[in-house]
Symmetry: none
Subunit: 376 residues, 2 copies
């Protein structure tokens, strides 16, 4: 019998920690982390995911904003929107919900997001920093996997880790994170000649292939840790007898159920730890997105102060070419600074209003006490 790794519980823990930190930030620095999402088109699954992310923002006290764009928009329309969000002071994280419609240049869109606000960690510069084991915004799903292993006290150092799936979003960054934790990763995919050879030797098996029942019990080593990233929707008419029985309630209520890439009922008895689907990696992904947004907000805050000073210093001794190149940047940064000061002023004004209310209330207390006293 494996121990279930409860992603719901762990992600709640993380959200609690974030909530406390947000309160502190609000109080001490007057900053509320803000996440903006861009959703293009009407993909129902994407809508569900985006809504879930906004609900989570609300739970931890983030500001969040949803930008919905029509299916028919162009790449340039999206780039313009991202450019706006990049310069906004109240937005610290920008997320473009994937998949994008086919006519959109996905790469261009993802690379347009300021790396500082790239809370999905998909910008090449964040990926490159992850590779170099530098401070970076790390894609939420692999970050969530490492986080859940750490919180279960499952050590990674020296472990053989087999990753099934070599996507940019899960498999590859996951392998890099594993190296940063001193594990020995093997990355498998559809062209791997004998998947079983690699899964069988894994101390930790991470499956992100999107293929239900891909991992059977004879492919897993006794005592392995099994992390199932797959989320496959199975409708009633696709389900076998066993699944119909196991997820009876789901099928009755919703006509479908969600399963992972691992044949859970058969693999679970062999594993030492296993993540369920749903309630395993899924909720961790959202928790790590929040964690990235908080991190981004703090990084941006820290950098702001020193920025203006630096940019004026560079002005001297420039050639015309350099000036043209730098003009926009420098002036933009000064404008940004002005916006920051303006919002600080707004904050202070609100504070004064509050204090005036307090004074008014206290004065009326004094007055009523005076009256009362006179009457006595």
């Amino acid at each position: 019998m494996a121990k279930l790794i409860d992603g719901d519980r762990i992600s709640e823990e993380i959200k609690d920690e974030i909530r406390k930190e947000v309160e502190r930030l609000k109080e001490e620095e007057g900053v509320v982390p803000g996440l903006a999402t861009i959703l293009v088109g009407e993909n129902p699954a994407s809508k569900v995911y985006v809504n879930r992310k906004h609900k989570a923002c609300e739970e931890v006290g983030f500001k969040s904003e949803q930008i919905k764009m029509d299916e028919s928009v162009t790449t340039d329309d999206i780039l313009l929107e991202i450019e706006r969000l990049n310069t906004r002071k109240d937005i610290h994280g920008i997320l473009v919900q994937l998949p994008l419609p086919k006519h959109i240049d996905r790469r261009k869109v993802l690379e347009a997001i300021s790396p500082d606000k790239d809370v999905d960690g998909f910008h090449p510069i964040n990926m490159g920093k992850l590779l170099a084991n530098n401070e970076a915004l790390v894609p939420a799903t692999p970050a969530g996997i490492v986080e859940m292993l750490k919180r279960e006290d499952i050590s990674l150092k020296g472990k053989d880790v087999t990753i099934v799936g070599h996507s940019e979003i899960v498999g590859k960054p996951c392998a890099l994170l594993m190296l940063n934790e001193w594990a020995t990763p093997t990355i498998c995919h559809i062209e791997t000649k004998d998947l079983k050879v690699h899964t069988l030797k894994a101390d930790i098996l991470i499956v992100a292939a999107g293929v239900p029942y891909l991992i059977k019990e004879d492919m897993v080593k006794e005592g392995a840790v099994v992390i199932d990233v797959g989320i496959n929707r199975i409708t009633k008419d696709q389900a076998n007898e066993e699944l119909l029985e196991w997820r009876k309630e789901d099928f009755e209520k919703k006509g479908a159920t969600l399963i992972g890439d691992v044949d859970f009922l058969r693999v679970e008895p062999k594993a030492s730890y296993i993540t369920p689907v749903p309630g395993g990696v899924g909720p961790m992904t959202i928790a790590m997105l929040l964690s990235n947004t908080l991190k981004a907000a703090k990084n941006i805050m820290r950098r702001e102060a020193s920025k203006v000073k630096e940019c004026y210093g560079e002005l001297k001794d420039m050639t015309k070419d350099e000036m043209i190149e730098n003009l926009d940047k420098m002036v933009g940064e000064l404008f940004d600074k002005i916006n920051v000061l303006q919002s600080e002023i707004d904050g202070l004004r609100r504070d004064i209003e509050e204090k005036e209310k307090t004074i008014k209330a206290l004065k009326s207390s004094v007055k009523s006490l005076d009256d009362k006293f006179e009457r006595v």
Copy 2:
């Protein structure tokens, strides 16, 4: 008996191809690719490597420039030099010879190189693009490994590839290149619990650990392809009998020899292909550096035309003096605005302080009235 993969011959082939392309570029576009190297300090090995790179540039008709800096320079000195090279139109590739002295911030230096001129491929943005399988400048050593395998018609698709060594320069980018070629990579390192398990299953074994004799014959599968990236200098008094005999000439001439990480004499009979040291991966690295510089020059050339158009726009008719005047005025105004806002903030803060005093006073009035009232 393994087939030797002759890096010297393959790299000459590549240099021939580059030479022809350089002639064409010179003739048709009037552009000569230019490489600048920065060498800090007096490390003798580094000097040898840098000189070799310049010699290779000469061979293919590149312009090249060596910048020597004293051991005592600061990180900022190097950054300044890089900044100059970034803007120079005749330099398309910039390479900072590693290792740098300990007091230098290596990361800062490598990230300062314009990604377009980063012919070593060490900038995070190039690493990230490699991860995403986008067009990028790829580190020369792993690029050389893939190139030599391709030119020997050794297919990678579906192959199990074990990489020993997880450096940012060889191991990690090599694993990503292998994934891009649909191989199944495993990345091992000093914490891998049983190296032999992983090397034994490799169809292609790539060793970049810097440990002489690390790979013995019992660690290699019959018929494997063995790529030895190690370059270890063994002096006469470090050598065993066998090596003294095998490299007799080297020891007589130079008192030392170069060997890889693989026990060549014993592993070679089991392998199907193997790279010698020297004359294997080493010369490929330089060939790929040249190839990267050529690629960078072509990319920069292509982009330049459109960039100038975009950038100049309305500014094109201004003189530098006019621009400075304009800019100064604009920046001055922005700074004035910032000062005004700052003093407004100070005023508001004073106001808040006053109000806080009032609140304190009123609270104590309320308290004393309460007390008085109670006593009555």
